[in-house]
């Protein structure tokens, strides 16, 4: 059994206050003008539906609320009756159709729980159907053929046979913790102790809502500065383990420490759906994403973030054009096995400046840092150029030369400056 309170001019907070005296789970409908709650648990506490109705009326009177009350076997019937009939309306289960019979058809459309096509009312009115009784009298099969699922739903609503649970509004969970410190903290370790507790609490909230964090926002209030220290960490995979997040935060703060003692902080985690990956028995193991991210963050702290990642070739003919991007955490696909061993190059970064002696326009002797020798055989030159429309333009002549020290080098001459460089060694 469900009770519904409806008032056109009362504030929603007042309706909720009365309803919450009887049930903690209250559905707010019709733009806050109607509240619905279950009275089934009250049967043992208060008594019969009549006694429950009188208790609700007494509570409404105490709160100075002028509203209509309806009690019915399902929430939709209770809402429709409370909105249409003034005073107290009680319907015993199974008799909803009789009570709803006189309701004008437009009432079903004024009820905003379910979105219905706006032209549906016009169609029904053209058919000469004006009340719920008319609609309930129509055969369900025929309505289904003409109006589809919406027709069936409307007919059941008119019959008072729609059964559903209450639509409760979930309480918003905050994923932010703010704290003011009594004394300023200069060292990272005590600050991390506080972060550990805060992150533990935030991750507990995340897990309670089956969520994980993709981003972390940190704001530190500094003692001597007007501006706050802010940082944002983006994780490659959603995380909900406080230790992993704390370690990443520690590594970031070690690399970018605040300039002044900290006297307060604000931690916020951005909730997202956690990543769910179906593992396979025959798939090769891959690094655990959270562990890998911590490991890469540690290495980045050591060698620099610009030196860790996955290489991506850029869409240009410029030599040695690539970018380092974060390691993707998506599922791996099998690649075709290599068919042969391919000769690779090892680059000198930056290229070694060299002195080259030419004989008949071909390199004969080469001298560079750590390299000196007579050219035994050469191939080239190959002229390459590009990006002439930008500042990174290049024009060069490339040669492959085999020296008498047994190594094979790729050298080039800049066309603009006529300077020679050792670009790479074949290995």
């Amino acid at each position: 059994m469900y009770a519904s309170l409806s008032a056109n001019h009362a504030p929603p907070a007042l309706l909720l206050e009365v309803a919450s005296r009887f049930s903690p789970e209250v559905e707010l409908a019709a733009s806050g003008q109607t509240v619905t709650f279950s009275i089934a648990p009250l049967r043992q506490l208060i008594g019969s539906p009549h006694q429950i109705a009188s208790e609700i009326c007494r509570a409404g009177h105490e709160c100075k609320l002028q509203a209509s009350l309806a009690i019915a076997g399902n929430p939709d019937s209770a809402i429709l009756l409370s909105r249409h009939f003034i005073g107290v309306t009680m319907v015993t289960p199974g008799e909803e159709r009789l009570k709803l019979a006189s309701l004008p058809l437009a009432e079903l459309f004024a009820y905003d729980t379910v979105k219905l096509a706006p032209n549906l009312l016009e169609i029904l009115l053209r058919w000469g159907i004006k009340t719920c009784e008319d609609l309930a009298a129509l055969p369900e099969k025929g309505l289904s053929e003409r109006l589809g699922a919406a027709g069936i739903y409307l007919r059941r609503l008119a019959c008072g046979t729609v059964s559903r649970p209450l639509r409760l509004k979930a309480e918003q969970t905050s994923y932010t913790i703010e704290k003011e410190l009594e004394d300023s903290l200069e060292l990272l370790e005590p600050l991390l102790f506080l972060f550990s507790r805060a992150l533990g609490e935030l991750c507990h909230r995340l897990r309670a809502q089956s969520q994980a964090a993709r981003e972390l926002d940190l704001q530190l209030k500094l003692e001597e500065k007007d501006t706050a220290y802010t940082c944002r960490l983006e994780f490659p995979v959603p995380l909900s383990d406080p230790r992993t997040i704390l370690k990443l935060l520690q590594l970031h703060l070690e690399r970018h420490p605040p300039d002044a003692p900290v006297r307060g902080f604000r931690l916020h985690l951005e909730p997202v759906e956690p990543q769910r990956v179906q593992g396979g028995i025959f798939l090769p193991p891959t690094p655990a994403p959270d562990k890998l991210h911590v490991t890469l963050a540690r290495i980045a702290g050591m060698v620099g973030a610009e030196n860790v990642g996955t290489p991506v070739l850029l869409n240009t003919h410029r030599p040695d054009a690539f970018a380092l991007t974060p390691l993707p955490s998506t599922a791996r696909a099998n690649q075709p096995a290599p068919e042969m061993l391919r000769l690779a190059m090892r680059l000198f970064r930056p290229a070694l400046q060299a002195q080259v002696q030419l004989v008949q326009l071909a390199p004969k002797n080469l001298t560079a840092a750590g390299i000196r020798g007579h050219v035994l055989r050469h191939a080239g030159p190959w002229k390459t150029s590009g990006d002439w429309w930008t500042t990174t333009s290049w024009t060069r002549e490339e040669w492959d030369i085999a020296l008498d020290d047994g190594a094979l080098y790729r050298i080039y001459q800049e066309s603009a400056t006529h300077e020679w460089f050792v670009h790479a060694v074949y290995d």
């Binding site: 060698v303 390691l327 000769l343 690779a344 071909a362 055989r377 290995d427």
Partner: protein
């Protein structure tokens, strides 16, 4: 007489222990399928056992880098994620791609010539686990620096990867891990193959001689590394 019997007993005892250790190794090896290297079959007839340490040594232009990249490509072709610790920032991403390495499954760490960073990065990656092959490239490092690396480092790496599917591949001019390595492939440059005459000559292949020093029963064999130019 007594000495002879004691000697026989000891010999039988030793042989039993040897057999037991062989059984143990066989059982350990049977747990994971080895990494098959089709183009290096003469040097690794049974593939590379998981959880082992492999060294690839050779001078410049011997083909050590190409061989290392081939092993990376074979591992990645099985769907594994690999890591490459590059001491001197010398790796050429285009060469990696041409060798068959799927770049999106490779983690590249550039150490700017700092050997200590390279060793620490290798330690972190090996302990993180989950990689198919971790390539530690020490080519171009000064011998004095490499000689200062304590042997305990290599034992630590060996302990970190045993009983895991990870293979640690060390590419350097001279052997570094010594007894910790299960495989040691020494490569020597023999000659370059050219096509055509100057000024229209093209480098087509590098021919080297390679030998697995840990399997002395296998004779040195020729290793052809092609440039892809017809």
């Amino acid at each position: 007489m007594a000495n002879t019997l004691a000697g026989l007993a000891l010999a039988s005892h030793d042989s039993r222990w040897t057999k037991a250790s062989h059984l143990y190794l066989a059982r350990e090896e049977g747990k994971r399928a080895p990494l098959e290297l089709h183009r290096l079959k003469p040097f690794f007839p049974n593939g590379l056992q998981r959880g082992s340490l492999l060294e690839v040594n050779g001078s410049q232009s011997s083909g050590r880098t190409s061989t290392s990249l081939y092993i990376l490509a074979e591992s990645i072709s099985k769907g594994e994620t690999c890591a490459c610790i590059d001491l001197n920032n010398a790796f050429h991403p285009s060469s990696l791609a041409q060798a068959g390495v799927a770049l999106n499954q490779l983690c590249w760490v550039r150490c700017n010539g700092n050997t200590e960073h390279a060793m620490r990065a290798a330690d972190l990656l090996l302990h993180a686990g989950g990689f198919g092959v971790v390539l530690l490239d020490l080519c171009g490092a000064r011998p004095q620096t490499l000689n200062r690396i304590p042997l305990s480092y290599w034992f630590r790496f060996q302990r970190a990867i045993e009983h895991t599917p990870t293979i640690l591949l060390i590419c350097a001019e001279k052997p570094q891990a010594r007894s910790c390595a299960r495989y040691s492939l020494a490569i020597k440059n023999r000659k370059f193959h050219w096509k055509g005459e100057a000024p229209f000559a093209i480098l087509t292949a590098l021919e080297s001689t390679a030998q697995n020093n840990k399997l002395t029963s296998i004779r040195p064999e020729s290793l052809i590394i092609q440039t892809g130019e017809a």
